[in-house]
């Protein structure tokens, strides 16, 4: 925010030569394109309410485009509406509508290409292919935008906010819905993604790969076709996010594939088919998260190592954990499990017998999916009880040695 204000001040007061252009019906200028052509670096263009159908606009000068009461820029389903190719451009308060679609190249409503310090702020996007597309951008700020599209399937749709080979991005307080992936990052580093809401997208709410050193704070990812999937990245911080209502055969609160040295803290996973799915992920700290009413709170493939799961709350999940292997090289400590039936004789708040989060039926379900037909039947209850006393199928070493008697205040 501070940066925005500073830049705003720079534009309005410090540049003595800067000029203010007004575009709109009854204003000095009628065409945005003509105005952009006439303007010089540092100028400000106010765009007044109206419908502008001006094809593709390319900005190669350092301009400040400000929409007054959301003027509509209509792409007529043919073109990319706005392309920014200059450092320091600010775009604010515009309504991007009906940008083009293509099966050959990724047409976006707004593209930021090969430039630095661009700000895209408080705009609205409706029915298009890609929303905001950033390529080779550095330190762009994308904030307060509202993106809404009408994707039907994965093939014919684009992503809401798509960043490729970008660095030090600041993406916050955007709302994205109805795209293929709400937020998509590939080769994006050192970025900060905060307080965005991504819901109702046909594939993932958030999808990134090969993107290290990023932080995801206080975002909401809910009701997306397949939840959230993050892959092949290091040093990720995922904090205080909400992952909710991702139901389906292959839907995950978050799927972490080959993510290493990362921290997942203070998040809430609620009503997902699988809360967290871990595949080939190492050295992840799962700390102080809440898992509530998921099918499986955590599914951890045997390919995961040295992860530590500490001080999380597990409530009302159908299964707390599932794994596909015998060998367990991860540590579980001081979590609260609502299914724990042990006792605490010395009253230190920690159960005296370890808790085995993997139930026999959860293992059975891994091996033979059809056995889910017997979920919660009497016989399965009996088998689970028997397995608890004499483990045969479940990994003996997968246990929480210090299960908490009471839930943590999270």
């Amino acid at each position: 925010m501070k940066i925005c204000i500073t830049i705003l001040f720079l534009f309005l007061f410090t540049d003595a030569t800067a000029k203010l252009w007004r575009v709109g019906a009854g204003q000095q200028e009628l065409s945005i394109r003509a105005t952009i052509n006439k303007a010089t670096d540092g100028d400000t263009i106010f765009i007044y309410p109206g419908m502008y159908k001006e094809g593709q606009l390319i900005i190669t000068k350092k301009l400040f485009l400000k929409g007054i009461q959301y003027p509509v820029l209509d792409g007529e389903q043919k073109v990319e509406i706005l392309t920014i190719r200059c450092d320091g451009v600010v775009v604010e308060g515009l309504f991007f509508k009906r940008s083009g679609r293509s099966s050959y190249n990724d047409i976006a409503a707004l593209r930021i290409a090969d430039c630095r310090n661009v700000i895209v702020r408080n705009n609205q996007f409706e029915s298009g292919y890609f929303g905001i597309y950033s390529q080779h951008a550095t330190a762009a700020i994308i904030t307060g935008n509202r993106l809404q599209s009408d994707a039907k399937d994965e093939v014919s749709s684009g992503n809401g906010i798509h960043c490729w080979k970008s660095d030090s991005m600041h993406i916050s307080s955007n709302t994205v819905t109805g795209y293929r992936d709400g937020l998509y990052f590939e080769f994006v580093t050192n970025s900060y993604i905060k307080s965005n809401t991504s819901y109702g997208n046909v594939r993932y709410g958030l999808h990134f790969m090969f993107s290290g050193n990023n932080s995801y704070i206080s975002n909401v990812f809910r009701d997306n076709g397949a939840g959230v999937a993050v892959m092949y990245s290091k040093n990720i911080r995922i904090q205080n996010n909400l992952f909710a209502d991702n139901w389906g055969g292959a839907a995950y609160g978050i799927l972490m594939k080959e993510i290493t040295d990362s921290r997942v803290e203070g998040n809430r996973f609620q009503k997902n088919s699988v809360g967290i799915m871990l595949e080939g992920s190492n050295r992840i700290q799962l700390f102080k998260n809440v898992f509530l009413q998921n099918g499986w709170a955590i599914k951890m493939q045997a390919s995961c190592m040295d992860n530590s799961i500490e001080q999380n709350n597990f409530y009302a999940n159908s299964f707390d954990m599932a794994t596909n292997g015998e060998l367990v090289l991860n540590s579980f400590k001081k979590n609260y499990w609502d299914k724990y039936e042990g006792y605490d004789l010395n009253r230190d708040g920690v159960g005296d017998v370890p808790y085995h989060p993997v139930s026999m039926f959860s293992m059975m379900g891994e091996r033979n999916a059809s056995s889910m037909m017997l979920f919660r039947s009497f016989i399965v209850g009996l088998l689970d009880k028997a397995e608890k006393m004499l483990p045969v199928l479940t990994p003996v070493d997968l246990k929480d040695h210090q299960p908490l008697m009471k839930p943590l205040k999270l």
């Binding site: 389906g248 159908s318 059809s370 889910m372 037909m373």
Partner: protein, 256 residues
Amino acid sequence: MMRTMIKYVVLDLIKNRIILVYTFFLLLMSLGMFSMDENTTKGIMSLMNLVLIIIPLVSIIFSTIYVYNSSEFIELLAAQPLKRKSLWLSIYSGLALSLSLAFMIGVGIPVLLFDGTLTGWVLVLSGLFQTIIFTGIALLAAVKTRDKAKGIGVAIFLWFFFTLIYDGLVLLLLFQFSDYPLEKPMIALSMLNPVDLSRILILLKLDISALMGYTGAVFSNFFGSGFGMLLSVAILFLWSAVPVWFSLKQFQQKDL
């Protein structure tokens, strides 16, 4: 005529000590489960086990014993100018009604008060179906076996079969044929057992369906669809009617 008969059977049964204890027990359980968990879903889960295990047990055993204990009275009634059919159906209806009433007071009303959602309704409906179905099965068991002790044994076995043995066999089958796609046979198999069918209907409403992965998708697509729902309810109705129909055929020819 039937209405009069049913009225008197119900009048007798609602004063029955076992029915009263049963009602009270159910009420205690459901109130306990709802007050223990702040989360009503969990309460519903626990109640589901009650509905799928205790309700069939009590319905089948109580009804069997009732029929045996009333054999002299049934004889007396058979000597009255009544059709055997209406006599037998009255006894069935009276039993099913009284047990359903006990269930509604014990479980139905608390569930609908604490959790008036669709899930709650499905649970209550399933409980009613279990009551009716197992009363019918009890009648069939009782009319087929003359000896009281043997009849009660058969009833207990049938309960055991539907709540446990059947699922055990299914499990065995699943692992024997784990190399084959079993989703569709599973749907058929779950239709053949009213307890399984009810359980799956409740689970689907609790939205656990999606967790079942690919199979779950097959399940929820089938049972979640209008057709699947309709078929399930139709099958439950069949389960309520067919055993009674067989028992009726048997009773009409039975020497009292």
